[in-house]
């Protein structure tokens, strides 16, 4: 299982306070947000002239991330299965950490997974002719060390970078060696406006029966279960589909011991109740369902960023 990004030091009293506040009905978050409300963020695209596509986002907790996409022509190897697996290479660089740090590799995988599922059409778009394809390098630079799990930040930034990616226009005929137009204005966007959009991954956590989007690191430390839900859609106006769900390690894992003073029942004496680990199926269903509507809003906002740039 993946290592947690950073251990949040919280005292037992804080943990219990936070958990009870999040488990209420309706829940109260420490910053008084609604469960589906994101913190303010900054997003801009097409900022680096030396890349095919680029984006930069500043997340609610101050984390900043720059993503650059570059492509190179590569000859296609004629192997049967999995020949398309190496067409996309993702590198994550976190400030102040070494290249082979497991955190960087893990973060890269969370982004790669959703991009390489069959329902995202990324690899098909990279084919040029039957003998050549584009090798795409997506490089993610985390400028500030990750404070809470940066999964959503990376995924949304990558999404924006892919939306802004342009490929040179092919001028050669079908099976010749590829030749391209030198005029950058004639370049072709990787994701045409009307086609399917690149996927995003949202982090959702559950405490008791409640679910929350865009968690802070304290909320992550008390969560029962944290899911990374990947969504893809055809256009910003459609409701997206869930294309993948992954669980992440969270603070308490659902095992909670409470010395309950309230809601005890008729006895009146304080009771120690321990709930077993895990999360209920109904909660998971609720997470998936809410992700669809929240995902649609997120896609809509991302579309707004892209439109503002044109």
């Amino acid at each position: 299982m993946a290592p947690p990004t950073s251990t949040t030091l919280i005292s037992p009293a804080e943990l219990s306070y936070l958990r009870s506040s999040l488990a209420l009905n309706p829940p109260i978050r420490p910053d008084a947000r609604s469960p589906t409300q994101f913190r303010p963020l900054v997003a801009e695209i097409d900022i680096l002239p030396s890349t095919n596509g680029s984006a930069r986002m500043i997340w609610g907790d101050g984390g900043e991330c720059v993503v650059g996409v570059k492509v190179e022509v590569e000859p296609t190897e004629l192997t049967a299965d999995g020949k398309r697996k190496n067409w996309v290479e993702i590198g994550v660089e976190v400030q102040g950490q070494r290249d082979d740090d497991p955190l960087g590799v893990f973060l890269g995988m969370t982004v790669t997974e959703s991009l390489l599922t069959p329902s995202s059409t990324l690899t098909e778009r990279l084919a040029i002719t039957s003998r050549f394809h584009w090798k795409m390098y997506i490089d993610i630079l985390l400028i500030t060390p990750p404070l809470s799990h940066p999964g959503t930040l990376l995924s949304l930034s990558t999404n924006l970078a892919l939306r802004s990616t342009r490929l040179p226009r092919l001028t050669s005929e079908a099976d010749e060696d590829p030749m391209f137009d030198d005029d950058w204005d004639a370049s072709v966007p990787l994701y045409q406006a009307s086609n399917q959009l690149p996927p995003i991954t949202l982090l959702v956590l559950s405490v008791g029966d409640n679910i929350f989007f865009d968690p802070t690191k304290e909320e992550l430390a008390v969560a029962d279960c944290v899911l990374a839900v990947s969504l893809a859609t055809n256009s910003a106006k459609d409701t997206p589909k869930v294309i993948g769900v992954r669980t992440l390690e969270s603070g308490s894992g659902g095992i909670v011991t409470t010395a309950g003073a309230k809601d005890v029942g008729s006895g009146g004496a304080a009771v120690e109740a321990t709930s077993m680990g895990g999360v209920k199926r109904t909660v998971v269903k609720k997470i998936i369902k809410e992700s669809l509507s929240v995902g649609k809003e997120v896609f809509g906002s991302l579309q707004g960023v892209v439109d503002a740039n044109h």
Binding site: L48, S50, T51, V66, E72, Q95, I143
Partner: protein, 216 residues
């Protein structure tokens, strides 16, 4: 700080003065300055995932560290460490000079005591072959070279401190004729002086804005 010099774009983060991470950096009378330079894989024309141990990067780090260890008033913060991190997002020539300028601005923003602005600039020399003459004398040096010029022509990077013409860093990695060097240096020093005024302007505007918002 974020500096865009033509197409060279650099982000600089400054942290500190902090507790030194390694015991070796703990110096009893002064603060240690640590510089980390990180070239993004997408910064050049080709995608290149540079290893951290690259010699060129090491040299740049050492040069920056020595320059700023002089400029920062390190005796005011003994036994601490000032960590400067530079992310180079896009390279188009004059990278070292842009790094220095970005560092200066970031250090000012961080409130770390500097003796004065450290401003850097590049200058190059070109020659024109005409007919039987090998060179035409008196060609003016070029100020602020971009990538194409840097890879083709000899160039020097000069950093000055304050309004004086004291040079705190001079880097010449190419071969150049000796009589041209003085001309290049003069042009670069002039460029630094003008640049210092621009940077001073920006710092004051930013400072006034922060004061207006009540952040100071």
């Amino acid at each position: 700080s974020y500096v865009e010099w033509g197409n060279t774009k650099i982000i600089c983060n400054v942290g500190g003065p902090n507790e030194p991470k390694t015991g070796a950096n703990r110096n009893q009378d002064r603060a240690t300055v640590t510089v980390e330079v990180c070239f993004a894989a997408f910064s050049g024309n080709e995608r290149k995932k540079g290893a951290k141990g690259d010699r060129r990067v090491q040299e740049m780090q050492t040069a920056l560290q020595r320059t700023f260890a002089e400029a920062i008033l390190t005796n005011l913060h003994p036994r601490s460490e000032i960590l400067i991190t530079l992310h180079i997002l896009s390279q188009d020539g004059s990278v070292l000079a842009t790094c220095i300028n970005a560092c200066t601005l970031a250090l000012i923003d961080a409130g770390i005591p500097l003796s004065d602005y450290v401003v850097a600039c590049t200058a190059g020399s070109h020659s024109v072959r005409s007919g039987t003459n090998f060179e035409v004398e008196g060609e003016d040096p070029l100020l602020d070279m971009n990538n194409i010029e840097e890879s083709d022509l000899p160039g020097v990077t000069i950093a000055t401190i304050g309004n004086s013409e004291k040079i705190t860093l001079l880097q010449l990695e190419t071969k150049v004729r000796l009589e041209r060097l003085e001309g290049m240096m003069a042009v670069a020093l002039d460029g630094c002086r003008k640049l210092k005024e621009v940077m001073d302007d920006i710092v004051r505007t930013h400072g006034n804005e922060m004061a207006r918002r009540g952040a100071l």
